[in-house]
């Protein structure tokens, strides 16, 4: 019987990659921990260590506020390498009620990510938050969305609150006093849907129009060219 060399290579590659993949990332929505432990404990148990990363991870949660129903989805990833700490979070809250919302609903979405490194020194330095925010669909008057990043309780500037449309904020702050081996990052988003929000209205940290516009243009061109070709064919008949 032949030895499956190719299969073994894949297996060993998988084993080699295992130390670089870690599971962490904890999510709390309106005070309820829906993923992991909120906030995560100090130490190594729920933290990324040097040269570890979390691949793109997705999840969802149904939230009912009074009689108003929301679907909340998210995707996140994080890493800690020689280049530094990095995290990415994309929460999306969609009103899924059958009729316009009744109450003024606030959704407080918190993403926690710990990093652990007990080498000498500190985590002091420049921290940057990049926050695209989007509020789309027919939201009730006065609805807003905002986002803010914290490290060990020290805040970077608040981005927002913003009304309907696409918005963007980016700030860099130099933080100090971060001497504990555990560095606790917390990304907080406040989605405030006021009464009268229509089904399908969405708040997110994704710059949707930038994605939809080129796709719509291309599809529109395709449809138009097909119709024009059909018209041309009918002329030549």
């Amino acid at each position: 019987m032949r030895f499956p060399v190719k299969g073994c290579c894949f297996f060993f590659a998988f084993l080699l990659l295992l130390p670089f993949v870690a599971s962490a990332g904890d999510i709390q929505i309106n005070g309820t921990c829906v993923l992991g432990t909120c906030p995560p404990p100090s130490g190594t148990s729920d933290a990324l260590q040097f040269n570890q990363s979390i691949g793109l991870t997705t999840g969802s949660y149904s939230l009912t506020l009074g009689t108003d129903q929301y679907s909340i989805t998210w995707s996140y990833s994080a890493s800690y390498t020689a280049a530094g700490t990095e995290l990415s979070i994309d929460p999306v809250a969609t009103y899924i009620g059958a009729s316009p919302s009744v109450g003024n609903d606030t959704i407080d979405f918190n993403f926690f990510q710990n990093y652990y490194d007990n080498s000498p020194g500190s985590w002091d330095g420049a921290y940057t938050e990049t926050v695209p925010l989007n509020l789309s669909g027919n939201v009730g008057a006065g609805s807003t969305v905002s986002g803010q990043l914290f490290y060990d309780g020290q805040s970077l500037p608040l981005v927002g609150p913003f009304g309907p449309g696409s918005h963007f904020g980016q700030y860099t702050e130099t933080l100090s006093g971060l001497t504990d081996p555990t560095l606790a990052a917390e990304y907080e988003f406040i989605f405030d849907f006021q009464a009268g929000t229509q089904p399908g209205a969405t708040a997110s940290s994704v710059p949707e129009p930038y994605e939809v516009l080129p796709l719509g243009l291309t599809l529109g061109c395709f449809v138009w060219s097909r119709r024009a070709a059909r018209r041309r064919a009918s002329y030549t008949r």
Binding site: A83, D90, Y127, T130, L149, L215, T218, S225, A228
Partner: protein, 58 residues
């Protein structure tokens, strides 16, 4: 029913349309990669960046 010949576009009009369609095709070909790029930007989402743990400078 036979269509009135006067309703049909003449050759110049047809070639203009063909040219416009070719331009449109070229535009769509150029736009496609940007569309893909724009779609992949979704992965950006909200991000946070910070330094690695380091020793204080002497």
């Amino acid at each position: 029913m036979e269509q009135n010949k006067n309703d049909q576009p003449d050759e110049n009009e047809k070639s203009d349309r063909r040219e416009a369609l070719q331009k449109l095709g070229r535009f769509a070909a150029y736009a496609a990669p940007f569309t893909v790029l724009a779609m992949t930007k979704k992965a950006d989402a909200a991000t946070g960046h910070g330094p690695a743990r380091h020793s204080a400078k002497p």
